[in-house]
Symmetry: D3
Subunit: 156 residues, 6 copies
Amino acid sequence: MFTHLDENNRGQMVDVSAKGITKRVAIATGKIHLKKETIDAIKQIKTKKGDVLAIAQVAAIEGAKRTPSIIPMAHPILLTSIHVNFYFEGEYLHCECEVSCEGKTGVEMEALTACSAGLLTVYDMCKSMDRSMTIEEIYLLKKTGGKSGEYIRERK
Amino acid sequence: MFTHLDENNRGQMVDVSAKGITKRVAIATGKIHLKKETIDAIKQIKTKKGDVLAIAQVAAIEGAKRTPSIIPMAHPILLTSIHVNFYFEGEYLHCECEVSCEGKTGVEMEALTACSAGLLTVYDMCKSMDRSMTIEEIYLLKKTGGKSGEYIRERK
Amino acid sequence: MFTHLDENNRGQMVDVSAKGITKRVAIATGKIHLKKETIDAIKQIKTKKGDVLAIAQVAAIEGAKRTPSIIPMAHPILLTSIHVNFYFEGEYLHCECEVSCEGKTGVEMEALTACSAGLLTVYDMCKSMDRSMTIEEIYLLKKTGGKSGEYIRERK
Amino acid sequence: MFTHLDENNRGQMVDVSAKGITKRVAIATGKIHLKKETIDAIKQIKTKKGDVLAIAQVAAIEGAKRTPSIIPMAHPILLTSIHVNFYFEGEYLHCECEVSCEGKTGVEMEALTACSAGLLTVYDMCKSMDRSMTIEEIYLLKKTGGKSGEYIRERK
Amino acid sequence: MFTHLDENNRGQMVDVSAKGITKRVAIATGKIHLKKETIDAIKQIKTKKGDVLAIAQVAAIEGAKRTPSIIPMAHPILLTSIHVNFYFEGEYLHCECEVSCEGKTGVEMEALTACSAGLLTVYDMCKSMDRSMTIEEIYLLKKTGGKSGEYIRERK
Amino acid sequence: MFTHLDENNRGQMVDVSAKGITKRVAIATGKIHLKKETIDAIKQIKTKKGDVLAIAQVAAIEGAKRTPSIIPMAHPILLTSIHVNFYFEGEYLHCECEVSCEGKTGVEMEALTACSAGLLTVYDMCKSMDRSMTIEEIYLLKKTGGKSGEYIRERK
């Protein structure tokens, strides 16, 4: 049932040897609730030169690459692309990450970890202004490739 | 305003040299929405021998320790304790992390990163059963120590 | 003779470009000598809920994944599975690790490193009770795949 | 009893906040059993220019530094020195590591991990000649500093 | 003579236990030679929104933090600040990094490693336009604190 | 133009999914300027037993393997070989690194990062004798494989 637990219910890294190498893509999303003044500050700085989001973007990309060391049972994977997109909507800053590989195992953990790292970095960059930020609704939007096939979830 | 940006609005690791060494504690929380059958499966396995949460707990602790490599502008810190607590409430599995240090800079990013790593690992362990899990409401509950003093937030 | 040394006898990471991609499996084993009361404590805790071995198991799996950063001349490898098994026998707790990949180079270092990390973690978890534990007899039990073919060693 | 397990018997990183900062030293030892021809090869290369042991020595030092990422519940520590010594005795190559810090927690895991990493690297460097090497008797020789005071174990 | 080599001339991490904790600062510099069109492209992108240098800046900061894992004999250090500055001068893009800590050992390797990581990242970001870039003249500009006292070098 | 920047000019890890898997090799070079007495010291130690360069060599190899964590937009790659060569010429110690893989993306960043890590380590090992060393002229000598084909640069 839990593919990550062996017959003694202890952790294992599940065997993917027999799986085929296919192109796999996963898209995850998440958001952080910010005060209006924090949103303005991020935007303004951005129109000047600085860029909170440039740093968060790097963190998201590195988060995707570092997934096998953050998630104990995750397989090492040769990622072939990572795209990160931040956008504002109302009181939220959204982070959407698309990760792909050609391999024997999917990249949804990479996409989810990228979103988390990106949003945590936004928190870190803004916490001197406001500590009441909340990270919300991190979930898988879409995944293709692999034996379990396509998964698509409607945006909340 | 953004203490992590220098006068060119580029990232820097802010100078904490002049800050005093004080005991600092931070508590963060977060939760993941699960199907009833996933909750049952986690609980049942747990009453046997296996333990999804034991693995997620390790991931949370390691996430706290690894924070300076996940969050670009975070300072390296000598953490003195990390406590992680998972509990179920309705359709949610909660993860609460308390981190402390004696140092020149706080540990709220460590607590938030620990929660994120713990919840992402729960997702990873359960994703073969359900891909519609959502990680929700990761935020700082409390922080003490340091110049900015105590911060307490009511539980949502 | 030493394939890891170049003509100046300095370290190199040997060229495996020309090697074929085959399924490779390695099994390594090791054990730690414990006092009877430490064994009892590990077992009892386990029958309750806690689980020293669950944590050591995670450490072993992560040790396998982290091998190329622990062993200077080891190649990065895409591991396809890691299984860890702890069992008690007399005054010993054994740790046996099976690692597999499909690649150009074998995974025996991964299996041996996994055993070492698992046993070191048992030591760490139990050292407040006893400091006289000894880690013993870490060796390769079996290896298949690759040009050098199968290697099987009798259990000591 | 197990200081690394909380009241639910799950892993925690134990609180060392209240501990004093003292100078702490730990010495660990371990050995690897080698065929006579492997010992000769290591020695000969060494008398030329190359040096299997130089590489294993680096691995041991890096292993000590990397301990908090290899051992899940280990605290980050500011190590102040690491000395590694390899010597031959009969059919064995010994690795002895002395690690020190000034901190709130001891360095015995660092010394033990250093020995393990050093010996695993010797295995890696020599495995093209012989796969029947065995790593044996890794244990703590001595530890000073800290509340639990001095621990000395006779050499086996 | 070589403080990093023990009496057998093998690597060690030198003992800094007896050193005092003082504020230590180091400034390093380096530059990369670029074609005029590459300089223009970096500048233009920057005046729009994108920012090659924002990414290189993150890499430099992370390089400073990661120094003990890149430089085998470097001590782990609690850095208290990292400032990175990129500026253009003729056919060169300069990278200057100031790192500080309060500790028992200096931070010049951290400053030099930060410069190297920053300039390598500029190379990586621009290599699709030009592969003939050259990284030049990475050296220590200034260092204060510690037993060896102040070191100041004239800018080349 | 900058393949590492998306349409908002923020960082991305470029998509290499469609690229073919070919054998790719890159050779990079760099050098460090040393005082005559430092060169003599390195050489003499080497003729005894110790070996500054053995340690720098390990650092270079590990630098190549660690490239995707040092260079933010670099892809993870399965390196198949790393060769490092140090040689003296006049007032300089040169470091030349050849890295190869079979993959979808090239290894020039790996070769350049290896040179940088090797030369920084030489600096670290010798800095107690002299702080006026300068790292100079790190550049790509040659690269083969991949869509952009062969690149050869004359030695400066």
